[in-house]
């Protein structure tokens, strides 16, 4: 990396001060809020890019209506079934007036990927995700400490089998490989020693329990530290590594900005993240307010996950889909909430797409279109073909729908559901 590439990286992370119209607002809404309505786009244009980035990542001024939604959901939460829990989380994503917190929670769910398939108890997964929601915006170190004590995580990565005389390295390995440092930034000895430091971090009756009797109090050496290290020391040692900033900061960049940052950019993002004390909210605000964020290579560069696709469409069009049915469809498309495919989470990008999931995405679009009847979208987008073709094009595709499609929809005066389905199926609609 050259001095020039570092300068370019700093410039890429500088606050964006270019043109800021509805297309830019729509881009910001897709990346911070799943998507947004025409009113939300116009509101944001008024704010300008810097204030808009802060606004969309802050709690709303008035949460009373959303609080009533959450109150109504509360009795269901005790059900402890996967279907209901998925449905509740989708409802949060659909109804939260500032769904950034749900989007970031989804990011962390993919990062600390834990699945009910092994954990068995859905309520433990729900509690884990509640914790990710509560701590996800703050210092990453607190999040890692909490996840290390999280009952679902302990079950998932065999914490109870990690005992003084029989260390089990499953959690220690994933902590370094997948949660903080990435491959190549630690040694096998580091893993073994870290496993010893986490001995006795057990789960009992759905709660974390430190079992002092099974904790190895002996001296350990890892990542340049020595002493009678405990799990907290391992976490601190991992976060001290520049690799941690690069690994986690880089992943945030690829989720929020675009999938192909160069090494200098990752270095710059990592340094900022680490030097801020791993302040996740501050980093995300920098990212979604940056020049890199509004660059041509960032626009429509990310293949939407099934959840992003569905929630984004519903929010953009003010649709109220049946969340139980939606959860089922999303599982079919490869994204079952609370059940990521492995500890590595969802691979994302093009791996979402195959013959079956593309047909499934086009069919998800049909389902949302069928549900549009009688919903506010009809009033918002008008029933005259000339009106709704343009309105849907603006709402879903920033006015960039393929010409042949627009012509076909206009020529045949197709109804709103048909137009909606087609616009929501096109390749561009799969991209954020």
């Amino acid at each position: 990396m050259t001095r020039g590439s570092f300068a370019a990286a700093d410039a890429a992370l500088a606050a964006y001060d270019g043109p800021f119209g509805e297309a830019e607002a729509a881009h910001l809404l897709r990346r911070t809020s799943f998507g947004g309505t025409r009113d939300e786009r116009r509101e944001i244009v008024e704010l300008g890019p810097t204030r808009a980035a802060i606004d969309r990542t802050s709690p709303p001024d008035d949460e009373s209506a959303y609080a009533r939604v959450l109150d109504a959901l509360a009795p269901l939460a005790s059900a402890d079934t996967l279907e209901i829990s998925q449905s509740i989380w989708l409802t949060r994503m659909l109804r939260d007036p500032r769904p950034f917190r749900e989007l970031l929670t989804l990011f962390w769910h993919g990062h600390f990927a834990t699945s009910v398939t092994k954990v068995g108890r859905t309520r433990l997964l729900v509690k884990q995700v509640d914790m990710l929601r509560e701590l996800g915006q703050g210092p990453f170190g607190e999040l890692v400490t909490a996840i290390s004590r999280d009952p679902a995580m302990i079950v998932w990565l065999d914490g109870n089998a990690n005992r003084r005389h029989h260390p089990n390295e499953n959690y220690a390995r994933e902590l370094m490989e997948l949660f903080t440092l990435g491959v190549g930034n630690y040694t096998e000895d580091d893993v073994l020693e870290a496993a010893r430091a986490f001995t006795g971090w057990h789960e009992h009756n759905g709660r974390h329990r430190f079992n002092a009797h099974e904790h190895d109090e002996g001296a350990k050496t890892l990542l340049g530290r020595s002493g009678a290290l405990g799990g907290e020391d391992v976490i601190a040692a991992c976060l001290e590594q520049p690799a941690c900033g690069r690994f986690v900061g880089g992943k945030l960049f690829r989720f929020f900005v675009h999938p192909h940052p160069d090494d200098a950019l990752i270095e710059a993002v990592g340094a900022r993240y680490r030097e801020s004390g791993y302040d996740t909210l501050a980093l995300v605000r920098t990212l979604v307010g940056s020049r890199a964020f509004y660059s041509p290579e960032a626009r429509r560069s990310i293949v939407k996950s099934p959840v992003l696709l569905a929630v984004g469409a519903a929010r953009s069009l003010s649709l109220r889909p049946d969340t139980t049915e939606l959860a089922d469809r999303l599982s079919g498309l490869g994204q079952s909430l609370y059940a990521p495919p492995s500890v590595k989470g969802w691979d994302g990008g093009r791996t979402w797409l195959n013959a079956a999931t593309l047909i499934g995405r086009a069919n998800l679009a049909a389902e949302l279109a069928r549900r549009a009847a009688g919903q506010p979208v009809e009033e918002l987008f008008g029933s005259a073909p000339a009106d709704h073709v343009q309105a849907l094009n603006d709402a879903l595709l920033d006015g960039d729908a393929p010409r042949p499609l627009v012509e076909a929809l206009r020529r045949d005066s197709l109804d709103l559901p048909t137009c909606l389905r087609a616009m929501l199926s096109v390749p561009e609609a799969q991209l954020s």
Binding site: T117, K118, E169, N170, R173, E174, E177, L178, R300, S301, V303, S331, G332, G334, S336, P341, S342, V343, K344, D347, R350, T351, W352, L353, N354, A355, A356, T357, L358, I359, G360, A362, N363, A365, A366, E367, A369, R370, P402, R403, P404, L405, A408, L409, L414, D415, P417, T418, L420, R421, A422, M423, S425, V426, P427, E428, Q430, L431
Partner: protein
């Protein structure tokens, strides 16, 4: 039916089909005209989830210790469908007898891995990743090679009959499709247009690459392949299949036969049957599961012959572990170790291979492992033309399981 075996009948049916004398075949031939991949090998994996009781599947009927260990559950020698002087099939697998007689059923005894793990999850993970070390289980043995089946087909690898992706298929460069039923490929309507008009509109909207670049162009191409796939499956669905039993296993293998018949470039199809965790009252459930399995596999073989694909398809049947030699006090069996795997298909060298010892005092509680499952895997991967060394770390002997 003197002298005329069921297989002869099937063979003549296949010949009739080749001559265009069976209903449906003309339709299928039209659907397949000019389609490549009709000669490529196909592996169908059938996973029995829960730990199938191998001793009551391939029964060591001549071993007194087996009968002593299982006063309630043992199958009497008279009821066993004898394969050799030592072992035979559970009577619920009677449908497989013709397959055996044709030399198309291979049984490998005592398959497992060193230091058996009795956790369903962990043991399945070992079978799925083909590794016993504690590397992060992020890639499966079949996912690892899924990107290499480059004949251009839309469905080189697929999960069939359900939508959950087993770890065995994880790690592919593009997520492996999970196909619950043919219905998953039916393009739904949004209500305003006829089905064909709406499909035409979608094709206009989604599949053109002109004017698109980057990810959008990639998706447009993938859409074109997906719609083509849907069209072919619709055609093949019209010609129908017959003889599959009701139930999940029958439906899954029926769908697998249709996918193979549709010439979508399929090389690996993955099917599962659950319910094998028989800790209690095993005689109430296990024979039923085996009957569904045997009837479905036999119907699958017959259908492959009928549609002219029998020479290129091998089916592997495995479970994450076997069960203990001794039955428990609840009329069931607990988690064990070594277990038989079954191989079916014309390319299979029929017979019983592998080895289990006499189940007397020399053997403690489990059937020991004598053949590493990864030897079975590498043998099958070689046959598929897939890079076995990539999918299965380490060195494992090839076995003479195929002709």
């Amino acid at each position: 039916m003197s002298g005329l075996t069921r297989r002869d009948l099937i063979r003549s049916a296949a010949a009739m089909q080749m001559l265009g004398l069976l209903p449906g075949s003309a339709l299928r031939a039209a659907a397949l005209a000019g389609v490549p991949g009709a000669a490529e090998t196909v592996l169908v994996v059938v996973q029995l989830s829960g730990g199938n009781d191998g001793l009551n599947t391939v029964v060591p009927w001549a071993d007194d210790a087996y009968h002593r260990a299982r006063p309630v559950l043992s199958v009497s020698p008279g009821a066993v469908l004898k394969l050799t002087d030592h072992v035979g099939l559970h009577p619920a697998l009677a449908a497989l007898q013709p397959v055996w007689e044709e030399g198309d059923l291979g049984v490998v005894q005592g398959v497992g891995y060193p230091d058996p793990n009795r956790s369903h999850f962990r043991s399945m993970e070992i079978w799925h990743t083909a590794r016993t070390d504690d590397a992060p289980p992020t890639r499966g043995w079949l996912g690892e090679v899924a990107g290499g089946f480059g004949s251009g087909g839309a469905l080189p690898t697929a999960r069939v009959g359900a939508r959950d992706l087993p770890l065995a298929l994880a790690g592919a460069p593009s997520q492996v499709p999970a196909i619950g039923s043919l219905g998953d490929f039916v393009i739904e309507s949004s209500g305003g247009l006829s089905a064909s008009s709406e499909r035409q509109l979608l094709s206009t909207a989604c599949t053109r690459t002109e004017g698109r670049s980057g990810e959008a162009a990639f998706i447009a191409e993938a859409y074109a392949a997906a719609f083509d796939c849907a069209r072919r499956l619709e055609e093949i669905g019209k010609s129908g299949t017959a003889g599959f039993p009701n139930g999940g296993m029958g439906r899954s293998l029926d769908l697998a036969s249709q996918l193979i018949g549709a010439r979508l470039g399929s090389r690996v199809l993955y099917v599962t049957q659950g319910g094998y965790d028989t800790h209690a009252g095993q005689n109430r459930s296990h024979p039923t599961l085996l009957r569904e399995l045997g009837n479905s596999l036999a119907a699958f073989q017959e259908q492959l012959v009928r549609q002219g694909d029998a020479d290129r398809v091998v089916t592997l049947v495995f479970s994450e572990f076997g069960r203990r030699i001794h039955e428990n006090a609840s009329g069931g069996t607990d988690h064990g170790a070594g277990n038989p795997v079954l191989l079916l298909g014309r390319p299979v060298a029929g017979g019983v291979t592998g080895h289990i010892p006499a189940l007397d005092g020399a053997v403690d509680r489990d059937v020991p492992m004598s053949t590493d499952f990864r030897s079975v895997y590498v043998t099958l991967l070689d046959w598929l033309g897939a890079p076995a060394g990539r999918a299965v770390p380490g060195q494992f002997d090839r076995l003479p399981l195929l002709t």
